[in-house]
């Protein structure tokens, strides 16, 4: 029983991370109908940047891990990384996708695959082929315990929740209540009409990529701290998980992406714990294929469309 609860907790934490990345996919897909293959690799760069930042903080500046200074510096580093990944993501759109805005649908997809490989190669070159351990700055303290005394969750999980949930809420507010958010939703519905209504479509699309990139970067920092690692293959690994989450929730649907992320996170954790970690990918990919074949609009979407 305790095992189950522990697995669920880990699943929830992972799920929030996956949700953050999934939202990046779904925002871009909603507005461009493009699967941004490179999105997860931008996330991977987020983990790499975090690694380097912590190297600087702990080794360069000699700040001791676990100290309050270290924690504060992490929170200072977070926005910097988010801005970096946001700019990278938006630049990729500008350079590799915008020229193909009116090309057949598969053209920007192939370009996105190209960009994904470029970023992965960058990751390979700056990180090397193996996983790299990130300086453990968070105190390894457990915060909650089961009646039997086994640890339940600790500062790690609190960090994940503490970063992801506010971001999700801010995003929700932004897309729902601000003018730019409304512009994003309108452009996602009908690009041409939005343009005719005076919305600067290019700016709105760039904004979408900035936001998606920023969320990916935040997820990167969280993963680097939570997993204690960075690896140039993280993009591929988390990418398919997150895309499955986005599809589960109905592509283009923000709430769906969040719930889908939680679901995939929990499924993954349960599979890791009760089956074997080496089969988790197969299970998730199978879910992806099954959903697309049988319920392509997503489990959580109401419209089982009536074709016109």
């Amino acid at each position: 029983m305790e095992e189950l609860v522990k697995a669920l907790t880990i699943g929830l934490a992972n799920g929030l991370i996956i949700a953050l990345i999934a939202i990046g996919y779904t925002l871009v897909y909603g507005i461009l109908e493009l699967i941004n293959f490179a999105h997860a690799d931008v996330f991977m760069l987020g983990t790499a940047f975090t690694y380097f930042a912590l190297e600087v903080i702990v080794i360069g500046l000699g700040i001791s891990p676990g100290s309050l200074t270290a924690l504060l510096l992490i929170f200072a580093v977070l926005p910097v990384i988010m801005i970096l990944t946001a700019v990278i993501n938006a630049s990729i759109e500008r350079v590799a996708y915008r020229p193909l805005r009116n090309a057949p649908r598969l053209a920007p997809l192939i370009s996105a695959i190209g960009m994904s490989f470029v970023l992965q190669n960058v990751g390979l070159v700056i990180l090397g082929p193996s996983q790299r351990a990130v300086e453990p700055v968070l105190p390894k303290t457990d915060l909650a315990f089961f009646p039997s005394g086994t640890p339940w969750f600790g500062i790690d999980e609190v960090m994940v929740v503490g970063i992801t949930i506010p971001l999700l809420l801010v995003l929700r507010w932004f897309v729902g209540s601000t003018r730019q958010g409304k512009a994003m939703r309108a452009t996602a519905q009908d690009r041409e009409a939005s343009g005719l209504m005076g919305i600067d479509v290019n700016r709105t699309i760039s904004l979408t990529f900035l936001i998606a990139g920023a969320l990916g970067g935040a997820a990167g920092l969280v993963v680097a701290l939570y997993y204690g690692q960075t690896w140039f293959q993280f993009g591929f690994q988390f990418g398919l998980l997150s895309f499955t989450a986005a599809v589960l929730g109905g592509v283009g649907n923000l709430t769906g992406a969040t719930l889908g992320g939680l679901l995939i996170g929990i499924i993954g954790a349960l599979s890791d714990r009760f089956l074997e970690a080496k089969w988790t990918s197969v299970i998730v990919f199978s879910i992806l294929i099954l959903v697309l074949v049988f319920r392509p609009t997503g489990l959580l979407s109401e419209k089982a469309s009536e074709r016109a």
Binding site: E33, R105, V293
Partner: protein, 440 residues
Amino acid sequence: MTAAVRSRRLAMPDPFRGMERKRREKLILIGVVILAVVYPLVFRALESAFPFVPWPGTSVLIICATFAILALGLNIVMGFAGLLDLGYVAFYAIGAYTTAFLASPHFGIHVSWWIVVVIAVAAAAGAGILLGAPTLKLRGDYLAIVTLGFGEIVRIVFRNLGDFTLALPAFLGGAVLIGPNANLTGGNVGINPIDPPTIPIPGPWGNEIVFSNQNATASFYLVAVLLAITFIVCTRLRDSKLGRAWMAIREDETAAAAMGINTVTTKLLAFSLGASFSGFAGAFTGAYQTAIFAESFNFAVSILVVVIIILGGIGSLRGVVIGAFAVQYVNQTLLRYLGENVINAPMHAFGEATGIALLRDFNLVNYNYLIFGIVLAIMMIRRPEGLFPVESARAELHGVGISSDTTSGTADELAVAEEFATEVTQADETQAGDPREDQR
């Protein structure tokens, strides 16, 4: 283009001036055959005579030819039928593992390769049908993701089945059905050795010709023959009723159905025939290398074949073959050569001077996927028809006019190249978020 410029263009020096197209093609074909026969024999001599030229080794040419077969197969799926398959490596793996199962000490089964290859091709074709049947109705980008997922599933399953236990869950008694720790596929280590193809003709090489990596020259001749067979089959498919049906579906699926084409079975045929060529290549690779392991059948291989097709010319048979040789030559030989002889040294010097570790340890070979990724993006933006589309495609796209001697075959190649190159407005857009293709 003015008449003066045009006439000047057509009057440029041309070694084939005055020759009919068919005759020119025949001459090129003979030249290629002679080159293919002679090169492996003189390669070493060339290497010693001109050591500063990056001659491709025979084993590199074998890789090139293997990927040419892969590219021709994926070209049926992508170029003829217009379906994006990102998990093409799965069928390559299935072909290789089928060969390993049926012709190696692993299970103690030793069927002759010449029979195994047929079974491997059938297995790959069957897998293509299994994957395609439920998924080909999906829209292009979703189909891409599904095939990618399939490719990953195949790789991971082959890896995991090296050490697994299949048992009933605890509450049903926990009886072990398979295992424990059964080893079906060799896992990470793979299967090794595998019986190579042999022909029992005695000679200076021994009692029989063995087509393995111990005998690169013979193996190259074998794979060249396999490539020729593939090329001929693809040409025939392109110029047939089926080829036209694929082209029609690619142009306008609804109109194609309105002409009596069963789009479901026709797409499935493309997918499955494409998969069989991948299995074909896999059967050769497994036996030639006499060893396989799961991790080598990864997503990067699928993408490399996509790069070859985009670079060579989507839909163009000649283009993708040239593309395969070019890309793999660069990948296997040229990058290392340029790195060692041209680029690495200045980079290291620069790195020493500035203290940047990245430059100090620079090795061009490590940047191959960065280069291929940029190539993909640039090709899609600037030259989506590829570097070697059919001549008339290039002429058509750059305004010189339609050449009058196009056969219907090359005209259809032209069709594919241009469809990809020009901006096509989709007549019926599916609703956002709904990945199903047709509107019914």
